[in-house]
Symmetry: C2
Subunit: 402 residues, 2 copies
């Protein structure tokens, strides 16, 4: 007998047939004698449809408080429907909204952080041998107003319950059957990983692998919650995410591509102290995350600073810096949105310096030019032309993962 927390995303419950599919998966574990708590997102396109309705009323964007009131109805509908399916299949079940399940958050509507989960109600329902279905993505602030946790919030809800209740495992069901060494749609040789560490998963999530939400992996790491990423469509083991994982013969856990990147180049800056501070302080004020930074000194006593940002923030970054032209003194600013980042991730990398050169060799053999390079203890990223990205992933994967 174990306590299992399961999370199903919106596409897993998009229609009645899928709702029953999920219900059967849940009942399978319940009937083995396990206690089961399920976190579920809004069905299919519900959230997007509701955002569309809000935009129709106020194209400038409604208040985040009222948007949370609207959006949280999406999960309310999906938990009720999933509970009805489980009822129909003959098992005892109860659905709970975020606040009923004890989720307290701060008051940052739309991007609220969970402050506490009071599991009393969930525990009482489990004690009655009910399957408990919890609305993901939502909580209540200290003013008794409904908040939402932002994109990927349901993953975080599930991990928070698993952490609070010391669940044996937190299973995140997705439309893929685990974490792969590369995107299997692009790299036919990509291999499914049996296990991966939290840190590796964090790098892969950041790098655009889009399997798990970052906040949920951070929380799982903090509270040592064992995660499993698995398919909601097939019954087979997925990928376990935990603190330490025995290294297999390959040092590399995965190759990831991120096309949500742009580079901004500030050309012809005075080569005086404080220039970099001014630039990155301004971007921090605008809440723009800068990733890779490259500084080069020109022959005429000026210098250039190039950095990468998420593509959506590119224009804002350029405008913010243009507005500083008087105090900053530069020749010009260029925005390039036709770039992509390719990265390799692996916890064993730091003790094996040959990995980087193998990666560069693979890219050289494929005739792909490197614009920028960034390394950390467990990853190496390169910025290249966007059009070469898929080819680069394949070349690196072929070279480093067999």
């Amino acid at each position: 007998m174990a306590l299992i927390v399961k999370k199903f995303g919106g596409s897993s419950v998009a229609n009645a047939k899928r709702v029953f599919n999920v219900a059967n998966t849940i009942i399978g574990d319940y009937k083995k004698g396990n206690d089961v708590v399920v976190v579920v997102s809004a069905q299919g396109d519900t959230t997007d449809d509701l955002i569309e309705k809000a935009k129709e009323i106020n194209p400038d964007g409604p208040s985040k408080r009222e948007l949370d009131m609207l959006l949280s109805a999406g999960e309310q509908m999906s938990i009720a429907l999933l509970a009805m399916a489980i009822e129909k299949l003959g098992c005892p079940v109860i659905s709970l909204l975020g606040w009923q399940a004890g989720f307290s958050t701060d008051s940052k509507h739309g991007i609220a952080r969970i402050k506490k989960v009071d599991p009393e109600r969930i525990k009482n329902e489990i004690a009655k041998r009910n399957i408990v279905i919890v609305a993901g993505f939502q909580g209540l602030n200290k003013y008794d107003d409904i908040t939402t946790l932002g994109r990927g919030g349901s993953d975080t809800s599930a991990v928070a319950i698993a952490a609070t209740m010391k669940a044996d495992v937190c299973q995140i069901y997705t439309d893929v059957d685990g974490v792969y060494t590369a995107d299997p749609r692009k790299v036919p040789d990509a291999k499914k990983l049996d296990a991966i560490t939290y840190d590796e998963m964090l790098e892969l999530a950041t790098l655009g692998a889009q399997v798990l939400n970052n906040r949920s992996v951070e929380m799982a790491k903090k509270y040592n919650v064992e995660l499993e990423v698995l398919s909601s469509l097939e019954t087979k083991p997925g990928t376990i995410v935990k603190e330490t994982v025995k290294m297999e013969k390959t040092l590399i856990r995965g190759v990831a591509k991120d096309t949500n990147v742009a580079t901004v180049s500030v050309v012809g800056l005075e080569d005086t102290p404080g220039v970099a501070f001014k630039i990155f302080n301004k971007l921090a004020q605008k809440r723009i995350n800068v990733d890779i930074i490259l500084q080069s000194v020109g022959r005429d006593g000026t210098k250039d600073i190039t950095f990468s940002v998420p593509k959506d923030d590119g224009k804002t970054a350029v405008e913010s810096l243009e507005a500083m032209k008087d105090s900053l003194n530069f020749h010009k600013i260029a925005l390039d949105e036709s770039v992509a980042k390719v990265s390799i991730v692996g916890a064993g990398m730091e003790s094996h310096p040959g990995v980087a050169s193998k990666m560069f060799e693979a890219l050289y053999d494929a005739n792909i030019n490197l614009r920028m390079i960034s390394t950390s203890e467990i990853k190496i990223s390169v910025l290249i032309d966007a059009e070469c990205a898929d080819r680069a992933v394949k070349a690196v994967h072929d070279k480093l993962i067999d």
Copy 2:
């Protein structure tokens, strides 16, 4: 400065344009310096669509607890959208769910009764000069589970708030502009009433005028809340509903038609004591409301009992009595669904015995046969062939209301 409670039904907020129409009506009263609390139903067909989704999952009918969880999301979406429209128009506003607005109910999911409204949060929001938008139709039971009040529940929510907060008026916005002496679509001469008493309104509601929900009128009467029924599409005074209304020259407040009627005839019963008790006790157990009863004695020492019930209950009534054939001993049972009830209502009627004969004369002149007759202090009802109903309403209206 007054405290005004307004209630808008689902069709009044069915799309973005109508939502803004309602928002402007609200803001009009707010800008005059009034405090405004608004109760709103789910948009347009939302509730029916959600019921459809539930039936798709469980055609036998899901548990009422989960159905309440599902349906209450409908009002949650409409309050958020209405609040967004008011924001967009530049006024301070906040939406509140039933439980946030302090609605405690009993635990009869789907048909819950309001036990108490704790108006603290509403009062706090009004003190901040917020327009308060409350989700109608919903509350919370003692287990912290969401309940719904059943059809017409939003009217009841509005009256409950008005009663608790001693509002100056409770305005119920509908798709008609008031209460008429007859259905204006069928009787072109029908007149709009300036005012009507609670008791008259109750009889008219029961009789199928379908302007106001009965429970809300009963509650308004109990707490002496002045109601106004008015149009959400036009700006003009509606009909006031209150305790006493000065009689105008006509004694009759309205003529109503109800086609949701069937008659059941039990023919050839033994003429012994207890027969009527057995029949109506059985129907009471099945929660079937019996309206008009007619008993006639035949020549052969048997008797017939005929009674009217809501059309939906006709088959169940017949089946329940057929099952008692052994103990009841009758010749046969006949169900007739092709009947209608036409009624006149007016508080001044009891002191003017001539009203009934005038009604019968009008029907006789129109060559309409009366099957059953029922009278109370403030109404007279006749059961006739359904196909004559509209003609009967017009004939009676022409004769009694000028």
